[in-house]
Symmetry: C2
Subunit: 308 residues, 2 copies
């Protein structure tokens, strides 16, 4: 285990114009792990209820994800129900049932002393902080969060962010967190508050990152067949952290490649419902996505006096 | 004259949190020409009133822009007044006074038989069509438009778009034009309606382009000092068309470099009020922006089996 992820493993029900997809394997830790396992070895910390389908756990195990930290407790699993309109940007949460996740106390597996990266997915910042303290120093601590915690536990969250190397956050939440109206200013403010690097996830507009190397940005791949953007951010994080773990992530070239890896695997994730796109070894398809992303963004420097 | 632009030359008044900037040189043709003149020779077709400050015209002439097609008529010049909030994305038009622009009948200068590119900026599609017919075949005809014409003259606009090689349009207007909710689908639909290439301008999120070469995308440069985004799209168009004119724009590498040039010069334009950023020779600064854009987006392909 080189990467530990602490987050949710859930049952998702997704309503789309194509129909209803019930009790899919979902949750931030599931998406992250299934993406990251293409690049590294992963241990997953989460909790499920006694109603959780064994097939979902078998899928995670079959992909080599360590489940020693996945607690199974009496009660109902965390369930999320969302509905997508014709526009995938237009997502509404219909229901969130926390179930056993409400009393989640992360159980850490053995071997956390040797971690190369820790991903604290979007959970209660008090739990994130507790895990951070128990795990001790890790070369790359990455944190994600959401508006619920920004508004609900801003102080605890600020504490966690201060202790992290890298904050991953979406564009709206970056503005909410900083009270600013501009993503460039927001990224700078976030770095001033502690983390050496910040990655702002902008969905179909790609990512913007600020770190010790300065700015990096990549567009998303244009997709004709995007079906379900649930978990896109966690899949991106899995590709990014999966690639960076054990590498020199403070190096510009290394981080830039990590952003490309995250972008590529997120593009695969959103083309299928739930985690289906990530449930098998996608390294062949990833190579094709890297090449497409390179084609999409590559340009030759113009002559300085072009046209003169 | 290798490029002809037909559009507006206006007096802009811009209210920002920093103060009011009155009677600035504005209009689509002004921004386009001042950007494009870095790369090619430009003739401008527009109309101004007898109140138009000679200094503004001297500025255009000093940059080598051909003003043979700039008509001066009795009456008031086209005036636009806009207000920006703390967020530059938050722009409101306070007043539009058409003045002599209301009866604009483009006067074409001599030499239009030798054009390498024609840019029909955002004006009445009936005028765009009339210019197209009078000019005859040009290797690259690019068209811009806006919601006012999409809603007001959809049939005439469709005619113009069908006859163009390249449509430049912003993201909201691409969705409005196609009735779709997704930019990827919108770009495809636009290409099906005639033009070989479409560039969707997404402001701070950069550009997305679809053409004979497939997809291209670039992020915008992150700017700390963006002050006035008026004319950003026309400056981008000036850089893009300025670079493409006389080149093989159907070639992926050529078009990609054009997108980078447009992105770079737009980043310079928005850092100053009005056209100030473009009023002098910025080739030195452009070279620096090309390098920054390359740094921002460049990544090395990951190993296919990264981490394994």
């Amino acid at each position: 285990m080189r990467i530990l992820v602490v987050g949710s493993v859930a049952l998702d029900t997704i309503e789309t114009p194509d129909g209803v997809h019930s009790d899919l394997l979902g949750g931030s830790a599931s998406y992250f792990s299934l993406a990251a396992t293409h690049f590294s070895t992963i241990g997953l910390v989460a909790v499920v209820g006694d109603d959780f389908p064994p097939t979902h756990l078998e899928l995670l195990a079959a992909r080599g994800i360590g489940l020693e930290g996945l607690e199974r407790r009496p009660g109902r699993s965390f369930r999320w129900t969302g509905v997508y309109g014709a526009d995938l940007q237009d997502r509404r949460t219909l229901r969130t049932e926390l179930g056993v996740f409400e009393d989640f106390h992360p159980v850490l597996p053995a071997g956390t002393g040797e971690l190369e990266a820790l991903f604290l997915a979007n959970i209660d910042p008090d739990l994130q902080k507790d895990v951070l303290q128990r795990v001790g120093p890790v070369p790359l601590v990455a944190v994600d969060t959401m508006n619920f915690w920004i508004e609900g536990k801003p102080l605890a969250l600020a504490d966690v962010i201060r202790s992290a190397n890298l904050l991953l956050i979406n564009d709206e939440e970056a503005l909410l967190l900083t009270g600013l109206k501009d993503l460039v200013q927001a990224a700078k403010r976030i770095r001033e508050s502690g983390p050496e690097a910040v990655v702002i996830k902008k969905g179909l507009h790609g990512v913007l990152a600020l770190g010790p190397w300065g700015w990096l940005a990549l567009p998303a791949l244009p997709l004709s067949a995007a079906r379900d953007t649930t978990g896109a951010g966690d899949s991106f994080a899995g590709g990014l952290i999966g690639y960076l773990a054990g590498r020199n992530w403070r190096d510009r070239a290394c981080f830039a490649t990590g952003l490309a890896v995250g972008t590529a695997i997120a593009s695969i994730a959103v083309e299928s419902y739930g985690v289906n796109g990530l449930a098998t070894d996608r390294r062949g398809l990833l190579a094709e996505r890297y090449a497409r992303l390179r084609q999409l963004t590559h340009f030759d420097l113009p002559p300085v006096a072009a046209g003169e």
